[in-house]
Amino acid sequence: MPASDPAVASAVRSGVAVGVAVSLYGVSFGALAVAAGLDIWQTCVLSLLMFTGGSQFALIGVLAAGGAAAGPAAIISSTLLGTRNALYALRTAPIVGPGWPKRLLAAHWTIDETAAVSTAQATPRAQRAGFWVTGAVIYVGWNVTTLIGALLGDLMGDPRIWGLDAAAAAAFLGLLWPRLRTLQPIVVAIGGAVVAVVLTPFIPPGIPVLAAAVVAVVVGVTNWLGRRASSEEAGPS
């Protein structure tokens, strides 16, 4: 029975722990969004409707650098950062099962954390519990803390006095850090950063960040510095 299933209980505990920890980022998102020039309503709607942290930070980061003129670049940046959610959804869709209203909500809640917690569980029932508990805790927590952050940011005034511009850079670094475990992503990160900075004086704000994606596509397609996929034949080297 669900209440006494230890796998489900463990999934629920993981979901709550991850959800509460991640929800705290919402304070920094809310404050930085207001510092980037969004109003409190726009900040909260972004967390309610977009609900994927990396894309939200990217959108406000590009808008902060380039204003409304950088709108198209902001949309493309946030969308490119959301592509990984399509891959997570391949894993979460079979966990969620059939029924379109449920699948639509599950799609909205398919993010780094729900994919990680649900796929880490051993039984189908625990995977389902892990997905829905993590999603619900983060959805409520992320939106409440976004509002708190936006209200705080609104009180702060000039974001530079409080170092909020540096906080935005640190927030991106925090999202990047766990992905730098092997040589290939480290090289792509350095290449992407160099491309963006070198192009900054020459092209409008927002576009240098998009240009960095080219580095990823070239390295990804050629698999330069990558491990051989297990389906390929192992070479003599």
Partner: protein, 104 residues
């Protein structure tokens, strides 16, 4: 393009991408090259955003209090300090360096 347009268009696209994984058969996307490239795009964009947020100023490049703040953040992330604490620490470093007025 208004800020509201940007927010709504980007939000619809974000949900659309998540739905792709619910409607496309896994065998189409679940191959090494698309999966690897999608992950590396995330890495490249986040790294570019770190760089631009650290030294960008409109269409210029400047070294100011953000640089030491981000270096401190990198050290704290390496020590596995939680995200929110690192972000607050980075803000504090930049704010304190600006206080005496010897860094912009």
């Amino acid at each position: 393009m208004t800020t509201w347009n940007v927010i709504l268009i980007a939000s619809v696209l974000a949900l659309g991408l998540k739905l792709v994984g619910f409607v496309v058969p896994a065998r189409v996307l679940d191959r090494p090259t698309p999966a690897r490239t999608a992950n590396l795009i995330t890495v490249a964009l986040l790294a570019a955003l770190v760089a631009v947020q650290t030294v960008g100023a409109g269409q210029g490049v400047v070294v100011d209090a953000r640089v030491p703040a981000v270096l401190v953040a990198a050290g704290l992330f390496a020590l596995r300090v939680p995200f929110v604490i690192v972000v607050i620490a980075a803000a504090a470093v930049a704010a304190l360096l600006r206080l005496p007025g010897w860094m912009s």
